[in-house]
């Protein structure tokens, strides 16, 4: 399973973990993963600990998610990035749009 979705802390957090390759092959699955965030206005955590590869389509998908969710979530955090992933996000200035931990 390249994508794993799970609510935590009584629905106050939605964790989406992506394993291996994060690219356009996950377009539908990724959209699906945040299509129902519940009414708790959760914080979304994109867990990239096992994301080995990503390309610009993944960045596009993250931006689409941000647009789609708007204020229905408290915030979107991108967590557990490997150093290379982190630098790709930084170069794309995602730190201005997401909380990167």
């Amino acid at each position: 399973m390249p994508l794993h979705r799970q609510f935590a802390n009584e629905g106050k957090e939605l964790i989406i973990a992506i394993k291996g390759r994060f690219d356009f092959n996950l377009v539908q699955e990724f959209r699906q993963a945040y299509s129902d965030v519940g009414d708790m206005q959760p914080t979304v955590f994109i867990d990239l600990r096992e994301t080995e590869y990503l390309d610009s389509s993944a960045l596009g998908m993250l931006l689409n998610m941000r647009k789609a969710l708007g204020s229905s979530v408290k915030g979107i955090h991108i967590i557990n990035c490997r150093p290379e992933v982190r630098s790709i996000l930084d170069i794309s200035r995602f730190d201005k749009l997401f909380v990167i931990e």
């Binding site: 964790i15 539908q28 790709i88």
Partner: protein
């Protein structure tokens, strides 16, 4: 294992009749013939008699009509040195009296016949019992030696299996005391690849060797998965899978697994059946209880298993105390249990990591000399940046330069994922391995540009909104399946002396691969790939004539 126990030895007891009167000796043999477990030998008392002592000789009947002329010293030596029982049998009162001092056990022949038989019966029984005890002793000694040896082997295996355990990590204090040689509790610590830290505290039902055995597969899974940086939910799912298959029905494994992020702020945990761990702030207040939300590992089937984790933010300088119920139920020297409340008070009194020895001291003072009745495990983790940085091993390692080129026609493009395949090939190589994510990104961007725009003629404008984004990739799939001609060439060269990668991607198409366009850096959902290439690579160029994009990247 050889069965030594229960082999009943029916060997007979050796008895020697030393005589000077053949008739009495003969009658004695007749009399004693029903005592089948007696192995009777007869020997005439001659000038010099010798006794074969290769086998033990517990009994001697000395049958004398008159006091012998030769010395009886060899016989008295036997009594002294081999605990041989000598019974003097004689029909003459005189002989009996004369030899009273040397041989106090005497039978007056023929009057004492009945007594002799019952005395021998007693002796035989006693002898048999002694032999049994001796055999049991030997068996016991053999087993003790064997168990000792086996324990040594298992200890060795445990030492090896747990050699990776990072118990010396300075941000964790532990007090781990097994009740017997083997610990049914488990406290594992391992750094993850992202500077994060994993900690597992587990308590198998029971104590001693059996539960400790379960620790082997659990620890192996733990360390392997920690190396990969797997999430807590996935780890516990795997643990449960292993435990439910391994453990008998009446055995399970309570466990708390937690992960502290590299910055020391974020904690994810899963608690199945362990006492609530405590989050304690610098002032010693318990600010959160990490209660068990699940049943222990090894109880649920894969389908029923609930891997949901809980997460929270730990204030800087706070600490998490994990412990097994052995600590709560620690029996004190006044026969009272420690209890959860007293433990909490103790932990609150000493919230600083420097004070950990005080906690241990108090626990030991409470216990006094009382023997443990369960394994004890207490571990306290300080929530601070972990400072676990992954080492980058390769320095001036000498590696070969190489060049890789692949020209891909429609069939390959339709059926394969060329970039993924190239990555599988090169991601194990020195230098390249550490940069695989970045190299993948470059190859993917250049390849997708060539395919999507060059060969398939797709327009990124479509990706403006979320629906268009999906539509774009549906269209990509559609057009790719219809592709009948054209090719893409991928070339990757590694310059070993400059530690530099050069990448070229060409296509045979007609569409515009966008390199000539200027993209501004708004939050559009496209155009980022090109911008990433611009920022991260050097010598980026697009040759319109050969439709080749080319760039370099220093490792």
């Amino acid at each position: 294992m050889a069965a030594q126990v229960g082999a009943v030895n029916t060997a007979s007891t050796r008895m020697l009749i030393l005589y000077d009167d053949a008739d009495i000796a003969h009658d004695l043999c007749q009399l004693l013939s029903p005592l089948t477990s007696l192995n009777v030998q007869k020997l005439v008392v001659t000038e010099e008699f010798r006794v074969d002592l290769n086998e033990p000789l517990p009994l001697v009947l000395l049958v004398l009509r008159k006091q012998p002329t030769q010395s009886l010293t060899p016989l008295t030596q036997l009594v002294l040195e081999h605990q041989t029982q000598v019974l003097l049998v004689s029909p003459e009162w005189e002989t009996l009296t004369q030899l009273q001092a040397q041989f106090p056990l005497q039978i007056a022949w023929p009057w004492g016949q009945q007594f002799l038989v019952s005395w021998l019966q007693q002796r035989l029984k006693l002898h048999e019992a002694e032999e049994n005890i001796e055999r049991l002793w030997q068996t016991l000694a053999w087993h003790t030696a064997r168990v000792e040896r086996e324990h040594q082997l298992v200890e060795h295996i445990f030492e090896n299996a747990l050699s990776r355990n990072f118990l010396e990590y300075p941000r964790v204090n532990t007090y781990l005391t097994p009740m017997s040689k083997f610990n049914g509790d488990l406290c594992l610590i391992s750094p993850g690849p992202l500077g994060n830290l994993y900690m597992l505290m587990a308590d198998f039902t029971g104590h001693g060797l059996a539960p400790a055995t379960g620790a082997l597969p659990l620890s192996q899974a733990f360390f392997a998965m920690a190396d990969r940086g797997v999430s807590v939910a996935e780890m516990v799912t795997e643990f449960n899978y292993r435990m439910s298959r391994l453990l008998p029905n009446d055995m399970f494994c309570a466990a708390i697994l937690l992960e502290l992020s590299a910055n020391g702020e974020r904690v994810n945990y899963w608690n199945g059946g362990m006492p609530a761990a405590l989050l304690i702030n610098e002032q010693g207040e318990v600010i959160r209880r990490l209660k068990p939300a699940h049943v222990a590992l090894g109880v649920m089937d894969d389908e029923e298993f609930d891997s949901r984790v809980t997460s929270f933010r730990a204030p800087s300088g706070s600490s998490i105390a994990m412990f097994t119920d052995g600590v709560i139920e620690l029996l004190g020297h006044q026969h009272q249990f420690l209890g959860a409340e007293a433990l909490e008070t103790l932990l609150s009194t000493y919230p600083s990591p420097e004070d950990f020895p005080q906690i241990v001291e108090e626990l030991e003072r409470f216990r006094g000399e009382t023997p443990l009745h369960d394994d004890l495990s207490l571990a306290i983790l300080s929530c601070l940046p972990t400072k676990l940085v992954q080492a980058t091993p390769e320095h001036d390692q000498l590696v070969i330069p190489f060049q890789l080129e692949s020209v891909l026609g429609p069939d390959y493009l339709k059926q394969l994922d060329p970039v993924a395949q190239i990555m599988t090939t090169i991601s194990q190589l020195p230098y390249l391995s550490r940069h695989r994510t970045t190299i993948y990104l470059f190859l993917a961007e250049a390849f997708n540009n060539a395919l999507e725009h060059g060969l398939l003629g797709l327009d990124s404008e479509l990706k403006q909104d979320a629906d268009g984004f999906s539509k774009y990739y549906e269209l990509r799939q559609e057009r790719l399946q219809q592709l009948t001609e054209g090719s893409i060439r991928i070339m990757l060269a590694f310059d070993a002396s400059r530690k530099e990668v050069m990448i070229q991607v060409s296509d045979s198409g007609e569409g515009s691969p966008q390199y000539e366009r200027v993209t501004d850096f708004s939050d559009k959902a496209y155009g980022r790939g090109l911008e990433l290439l611009r920022q991260m690579t050097t010598d980026l160029s697009w040759d319109h004539a050969t439709r080749t994009v080319s760039f370099k990247y220093g490792l």
